[in-house]
């Protein structure tokens, strides 16, 4: 994924007032957030550490 594919999430923010005067805010995201080109975090290597069976999560 290159730089041009980065997507900062943009949203519509709608605020409503409840009967008791409290507010509620709904955030609706207007475009799908897309992962940036930042490399994925790497696990640090240390002696004695065995990786459990990897799983997609």
């Amino acid at each position: 994924m290159d730089e041009s594919e980065r997507r900062e999430p943009s949203y519509i923010k709608e605020q409503e007032t409840k009967a008791d005067g409290r507010y509620v805010i709904y955030y609706t995201f207007t475009q799908p957030a897309t992962e940036s080109s930042v490399s994925r975090p790497e696990q640090a290597q240390a002696p004695g550490g065995e990786q459990k069976e990897g799983a997609d999560v």
Binding site: R6, E8, P9, Y11, K13, E16, K18, D20, R22, Y23, V24, I25, Y26, Y27, T28, F29, P32, A33, T34, E35, S36, S37, V38, S39, R40, P41, E42, Q43, A44, Q45, A46, G48, G49, E50, Q51, K52, G54, A55, D56, V57
Partner: protein, 326 residues
Amino acid sequence: MSELRWHPVLRQWVITATQRQDRTFLPPREYCPLDPTKPGGFPTELERPSFEIAVFENRFPSLRREPPEPAIEPEGPFDVRPAQGVCEVVVYTPEHDTTLAQQSVEHIRRLIAVWTDRYAELGALPYVEYVFIFENKGEVIGVTLHHPHGQIYAYPFVPPIAKQQLDSARDHHSETGRCLFCELLEREREDGRRVLIEDENFTAVIPFYARWPYEVHVTPRRHIGALPEMTDSEAWSLARTLKSILVGYDRLFGFSMPYILAMHQAPTDGGEHLYAHLHIELYPPHRTATKLKYLAGSETGAGSFINDSLPEEKAVELRAALPQRL
């Protein structure tokens, strides 16, 4: 009734909020107040049939935008003030049976956008000195609603732990000219034994001085005081790092790990806090799969934590449980 009562011995405010005794406590699944309101169903806090992320003012707040006057007059050392502030609930998703760890990286990135917005908006209120974003997860932590959610307390003062951290950072900065958190992170990265995961923007470690067995600190590599200073790239890194740690927690013992998530940022009291450094601290209460660490005599009575484990060994365990792919 809620008010701030000054603790003259510990020199900190205690929030007295008696109405919280009546808050909803572990309701049946079908009466979750954080679910979307179903057509014809009972009205929840969220009156829409669906939403992505929602924030609302807590029905049982410790702090209020327009608080009542204290029920008692201040007298001598017994100072009292109105409990002015804001308590918000952040509902992560309309789905009830899920967790933050199970959300996609993309959704956690959206949540970070919401957290950023709330920090800026609440921090701009003239009476708010500190915006504290946190999550309590799991009944052993004291959660009263299982629906995945976090909270935000916008305090009219800098709370004690944040103040202690900021005082240490200020002193270190004035003594060395360096940011304490930048230096700690640098030392952890040089040592490496307690580093769990990192990319070019964020590092997660079980710190040298961990008080809880699986305590994790997630810290940006760049000196950033608060969420609004993050770049988009850094926010994505935070989303990925946070997801990795939360998934790792769940894989560690094979069940959904309870934890406290606490985010520390620069105060919003109008001061210049150049030494503040954004970071997230996570405290799972488990010391083994079946045993909890309790805050007992030494911790609660004396404020001195006893960690029954070595951070270097716990880092090996937790690192092995982290997912290889997200």
